[in-house]
Amino acid sequence: MSQPVILALAVKSLRNRKFTAALTVLSIALAVLLLLGVERIRHESRESFAATISGTDLIVGARSSPVHLLLYSVFHIGNATNNLRWDSYRAIAAQPEVAWTIPLSLGDSHRGYRVLATTPDYFDHFRFARDRRLVLAQGKGFGDERDAILGADVADALKYRPGDPIVIAHGAGDVSFSLHEHHPFKVAGILARTGTPVDRTVHVSLAGLDAVHENTDQGGAADPLAAVVRGDRHAGAMLASTPRAITAFLVGLKSRSSALSMQRRVNEFSAEPLSAVLPGVALQEVWEITGAVEKTLFAVSGLVVIVGLAGMLVALLTSLSERRREMAILRSVGARPVHVFALILGEAAFLTAAGIILGVAALYIGLLAGQPWLESRLGLFIALSWPSVYEVGLIVVVAAAGLLIGLIPAYRIYRYSLADGMTLRI
């Protein structure tokens, strides 16, 4: 019977202390926003990373650490220290367990976007996000060696349409003084958006890239040795255009079960030092590296939640002494000590709930507003999905902590009201 009265009293009493209540709600909301935001970005970045490559059993490159190989070949983060020889690639591709291979050659760029030279196999076999394949949104695939296929972001940002000429440059920088101007490519097709680094990549054929570099040679630009000294990543290609060198290649096996034995064979490849990595294992290593940072962020946001709730505790406790009179009045009109207890607990519950609702709302508004930025700057596509079970769990923990903290002032006022009864001492 009196529950609605207590609830109404709690809400009205908070409204009477709007300013403190609003500040308390705000601090809880920010804490919840931080906690869920960190968790959401952590989770989504993992999802997004994991979705970048799918269906590839092995990534093979020159000898390096698995994480490094994975990052430069698939995520286009960092650069390869060495190339691998074309005949090594052919030798491994010819193994009976191998179903398909995709050679990758990196090192050039177009206005800040990486250029990836590959073969049409790339569009046949490359999979991302649980077996989705690359799809052309406009134009067509590789026709001749001057064709370029653009990722969605490249086309959007630079406003390219099929048929436009593009000139690629040496190196990965935004500005390069070594433009391959005499060998322009032509935009043949534009890929549909994938939410992976593919969107920010210019794809050309290996043959096209070789043609570019041969032309450079004819222009007399380079003594091959000087190119090696400069750290020119196409040095291999220039030194011996057939067989060429590539940066890395992706391998699809006929049977998953041969992945480990194949990996061992590549690692023991005698002609040159190579590394083969299982993408999942390498990703796991990435998570191990980032895990410590994530844990720290999580701990910090957890502490912020505690600080937010402690703020509520302080606000409620400081209001108590001036509210003893109010409690005595309530007792005189028939409120039981448990009602007085429920009133303060109800206020804590209301503040916590309002903080959580505001925090979650802010998270979604933030995600909605920040989505394009995160996607274009970090390549992180964050889907606006319902809170995950884990996130709901976090929310429940915050709510429970809020109630638990509310028990402290509620119990104190309960004790006061038992002791004070209706004596109104000012």
């Binding site: 609605p4 009493s13 409204r15 009109v333 209706m422 000012i426």
Partner: protein, 243 residues
Amino acid sequence: MPIQAPVIELSNVRFSWAAASPVVVDIETLRVANAERIFLHGPSGSGKSTLLGLLAGVVTPREGTLRVLGRDVGALGGAARDRFRADHIGFIFQMFNLIPYLSVVENVCLPCGFSARRRSHATLAGGTVEAEAVRLLDHLEMADADVLRRPVTDLSVGQQQRVAAARALIGAPELVIADEPTSALDADRRSIFLDLLFRECARDRTTLIFVSHDASLSPRFDREIPFAQINRVPSPAVAENAR
């Protein structure tokens, strides 16, 4: 309830705050009849407020029997006493009677939130609890639109006491206990307040226990009880041991 049955009946009631601490209230007998207007007076610290606490069931006697409206209050459990108080007793304190964040009408309606009995009485009398609150406020000359709209903290002390009186009276409790409700008012306002309170109590035949240290009010009541005469504990001892 038969008219003759006493509303309040105490016999050999002794009270101390803790088992080992000195007795602060020791009353051999006290009877108050229905619709009686009692003026209870005595110096501050003489234990009057403790007696009111006993009547209200906030504290229970260590010895003796205390019957209010025929119920042995001392024998009831805490929750039952709270419910009994909500249903049957209206309170007016000396000052600061009102919940600052509630409106005038919400303050008056408050007891009906805790007592179904008083809510049904109020609904019966006024149609709705709110209408009954406004009606009572009107009787106490407090129903101007301007007054009803104002935050209770903006009201004068006299106005606040009338709102408190309306709250004590809503839902027709049998017993109204007023603990020095006029001590913050000047003589004229005190007299007006008493007129209004008496009129309302008379209407529902409400029993009124009015506590004050101001003996000049005594002639206006049916009966005067000097607290020092009924409490067998001498005042100074009470004052010393009062919490």
